[in-house]
Symmetry: C2
Subunit: 148 residues, 2 copies
DNA sequence: CCTTGACCTTACCATGATTGGAAGGTTTAC
DNA sequence: GTAAACCTTCCAATCATGGTAAGGTCAAGG
């Protein structure tokens, strides 16, 4: 099975398969005498696993961890469960932050006339340099969410 | 006012101020005889504006648009409002996708023993190569969400 | 046996927003 | 007059992914 077949079977592009190999996310594939990568069903399974995990929003780092567990016959389900729940909790935290943004935007938009006058309070609000910072908490959270 | 002071006053790092200038997001700053950038209060306001908009999750492209409107004395509040609401709607779509991921993860985790046995169904599920794809809709949505 | 086309290889470039560093010039304060 | 703290530009790196180019390989058909 060449890389193109593995790509089709797993849904991961050939480019990405090579990249995943280069960063050590998946093991190095075997090679033919002429240098072509060859893949077994087992390796396609790993690729499919990675694909699905990416789709669920797992970071490459976390998938690296999951793949190790998956390849480890002595893996403990407790750790897998913990990783999944950690990821769910992180997603929920981000959801809360994004919801706060949405609320802010909708609130500002509600007080904007929406006509042709140049005094939409959205702009005034963004522009405001005042030092009161009643939104300190939210602002901090949002900034923290901008990593990765 | 040098770039360092403008950075402190606006919360945008000096590096980033130069970058924003290089991509045309903010106008080119004036220069001293020796080449130092100089900033007025007005320009610091723009920087602060950008900072707050970034914090609210606006893309650079969208901020570019907002800054143009802000600098345009004939700006129409209708457009500003529309941009804000568009952005809110996009955020809500992403929130829905993320919530779907969370639901999936929690569902899988609930059926995982969480002990030391190596049979956590989370892994089996990720590994599953079956072609039923009952989640087709969601999967498509999630993939689509990975652009930007 | 040779050509053609579809594959494979590596390597480099690009994205977007941001940070980091290096090498060198300027200003300020002691 | 010198040291520290600033500033300048340029270059590199991040992360996951896509694109392209130059060249090697394989299978089918003439």
């Amino acid at each position: 099975m060449n890389i193109g077949d593995a790509a089709k079977a797993s849904g991961v592009s050939a480019k990405l398969i090579r990249y995943y190999e280069s960063i050590g996310l998946i093991p190095e594939a075997g090679r033919t005498a002429s240098g072509y990568r060859v893949y077994t069903k087992q390796e396609v399974s790993i690729l499919h696993f990675v694909k699905r995990a990416r789709t669920l929003g797992f970071s490459i780092e976390r998938i690296h961890h999951l793949v190790s567990l998956w390849r480890d016959k002595e893996r403990a389900s407790a750790e897998v469960k913990r990783i999944a729940l950690d990821h769910a909790a992180e997603l929920e935290a981000k959801i809360a932050e994004m919801q706060a943004m949405v609320d802010t935007l909708r609130e500002r938009a509600a007080s904007c006339q929406g006509d042709h006058r140049p005094d939409c309070p959205i702009l005034h609000d963004l522009e405001n340099t005042g030092g009161d910072n009643r939104n300190g908490q939210i602002t901090k959270t949002l900034i923290a969410s901008q990593d990765r």
